[in-house]
Symmetry: C2
Subunit: 81 residues, 2 copies
């Protein structure tokens, strides 16, 4: 069993309205020292697979096939154990 | 300037319908070796603050005030630089 974590974030220059909304909300709560907020997501995948590098290859395929929009998003795969 | 990253995930035992939907979709694409998928989010915060521990305290306040639903979510704060 291998656990892989995929971190997906918007590419630089791509507008992040959700991050902006969080920043405005925090501003209203009195947190004025924030310069920028960007929101991303991560996906934890438990795989029935013993080989780490093979697991990483499979997760990379999943990312390109379904999980990530590579036009506007960057991703990073981390295989834990 | 300090960058803090807040990782927010659902607590164990809390249903994750989004993760389940991703798992079903990947299953339809032929990725059958997946045991479980959990989806989480992360928020990158750029703070006008020089002291790391003070920055962490502030971000912790933001989490409890707005960013995290502590009834169903866990969070972890990482201060980068």
């Amino acid at each position: 069993m291998v656990k892989a974590i995929v971190h997906i974030s918007l590419k630089h220059g791509v507008l992040d309205p959700e991050g902006k909304a969080i920043q405005n909300a925090l501003d209203n709560f009195g947190f004025q020292e924030i310069k920028e907020i960007r929101k991303g997501k991560f996906i934890e995948i438990m795989l029935n697979e013993s080989d780490k590098s093979e697991a990483k290859d499979k997760v990379d395929k999943m990312c390109r096939k379904l999980l990530v929009n590579t036009v506007i998003e960057n991703y990073k795969i981390e295989v834990v154990d």
